[in-house]
Symmetry: D5
Subunit: 96 residues, 10 copies
């Protein structure tokens, strides 16, 4: 089941450079693990913004919430969730 | 080059059933041709809405505009365009 | 899996009284059938508005979309969908 | 009498871990007591957000306000209140 | 129990002058009856707008909805409902 | 001459408990003095919010501004002013 | 007493050219009469818009409402009213 | 050439009383100098707000920007600029 | 003096194909004449929209308004005007 | 390929005067280098705002993002990106 998620990142200026680097490294690992498992199906940067558009493929709303609230950057993100489904005109098999 | 496009469809009630069916058939063909060519990379329905989220892979802004303004449903759509690029954490080869 | 849905109804003035009565009767039957099946878990009227707040219990986003887009009043509704999940403080068994 | 309430939580970063834990524990107890009394009829988490949708069953506006303004997290919440009533199509007895 | 209600009126231009006069007369009677009963506690015009701010004193949400949805001008109104209660600094007895 | 005023209060967290108590006591006295003089005609709490809806009866815009800008909580309030007048359907003498 | 008023004009396309010309002529006379009396103190066009910004000098809210609701173009205007007063830094005598 | 400017002032709480007094004194002098020169044609307080509506008469956009960005309170203001011109119904000579 | 103008075009569906073609031809001529004179300095299409972003170089607000309100498509456009000036970092001579 | 970019600058008050001067100097150099290369085609100040409107001519979305996210002021800017293309009525050769 697919969800469209946009994430706007807003890291506070008073976070130390070390904390910032550490949190960004954990975020990258976290995201790439989920990408490898096929759960985080797509991730794109939005031009000109510290933000991304992502597509998640999850069992249900609860799994989606666990993933999003577990993001290392979650406290610093503005998140928007949109449930998706296969479009009747889609021809690509995995755009279910 | 990737673009994120949302399309909200609002077909006027005074369009005849025939005109409506004809325009929808043309829209489907138009979309599936572009999907087959790889230009219209993804299309998903938004749950509960007569709307879709799409990803286009085009040469430039002009090609994107030609495609969107050529949509049979273009006069009845509310369109939002967001330029995308490869995310630094992406691992999937074609999410460029 | 639960979804929170608000529906604002806006029936055009030029619909005949008969068409209006017929569509409202179909809407009521449609809603009550789904309530009896346990899919449409709750429905409340919003005070002062021709609108409702509903909770749906569905298998996935696709089933939710089928139900909503099949509503007889769908063409005249402004719909907002919010995915829900069990709250960690909930004590009621069926608020999953 | 039913009210629909959404609560968005925004705990300031400069709250100590202890204060945060203590306030969250009190919030949970407060919510579960009211759930047991039947006043806080439903509570659901919104996927991807530190927020909930709740249904309250109270005597009047004053009781609702006492409950909401007494929430341990009240100073850190963005609250939206919508008065509800039984929907004419509802079949479930307690959706009054 | 008090509710604050704003009503913005938007009568369609294609309503005949007779229909318009008749609906406005019925609206006035309806409002004044409820004012005499003490249910419609206050009504003020908003300067420069075809709109009013009103205070209703009702038993519950359901009575408020019955009153508002029964307004002759209801189909042509944009209505906003806000539940009120006695303010801790109020000194006037009937501002409960 | 009547004005409708909404006041949303947002006291900063870094105000000391003493300063907070002192400012709230002054606000209460200030409001009740004006209520006794008949200038602050009504004040109601908005359910679920640290906010009020008030009706002022003043000579002119300048007097209204003097009163509002003199509120002890003025620096911490978000204020919205709407000029009112007697509604043509009003039957209550003092809703002028 | 001064009020700041913005008026956005939106004349429906189905008004006949004669009706349009007649209503615009009446609007101009109405405005110039009030300007000569000193009630409509200023009127300026907003560049690029069929809209104006005006300053009215009236006795009270009721007189302002009578003037605005009497505008021949009132049914086709979107009006916004802001109460003004003399600024403490003003040096011009009639900017009271 | 006339411009309509609204200025909302938001002085940070951590500014010392002396800095605040000094900046306000400079703002007043700055404004009154420009009023005397005829450049700052009007200034009015908005009732209930720490804000003003002003009319400037300048040579061009650059002069307007120099004046606004030179305001002592500029860093603490939210400014909105609207270009104006003589209204075809205006009768007052200097409302050009 | 430069102005930034965005124009969103919304031609009503009930305009005949001939009227539409005629008005579009006049709009093109009108725009190209002004481009040749150097008044309409730039015009770009916004990708995915029937809209443009333009830069005008005019004597004053009045000339800008004459040009915009004279556009054949003016009644069908949503226009937004922003006054510009030379940026202190600009190196291009004619970006004054 | 052209992009329209607006940048609103909001430098935090707690940045030291030296840091501020240094970052502004780097921003100016950065912008002028790109202007000289023809990539940053236009830059204008918005009257009354610490903001600019710019036109960029880049190879693709990725290059635009690299430029914008590399701006010394990027962490303090609110940026809005709009993809442009040649307008069918444009006569100027380089407005492609």
């Amino acid at each position: 089941m697919l969800f469209h998620v946009t994430m706007d990142v807003n890291i506070p200026r008073d976070l130390s450079a070390d904390d910032r680097a550490e949190i960004l490294a954990r975020e990258k690992t976290y995201s790439q693990d989920l990408q490898r498992q096929g759960t985080w199906r797509h991730i794109w940067r939005i031009a000109g913004h510290y933000a991304n558009v992502s597509i998640f493929d999850v069992r249900d709303n609860a799994e989606l919430h666990d993933i999003l609230s577990g993001l290392p950057l979650f406290p610093f993100m503005d998140i928007k969730v949109t449930p998706l489904l296969r479009h009747p005109s889609a021809i690509r098999d995995d755009d279910r």
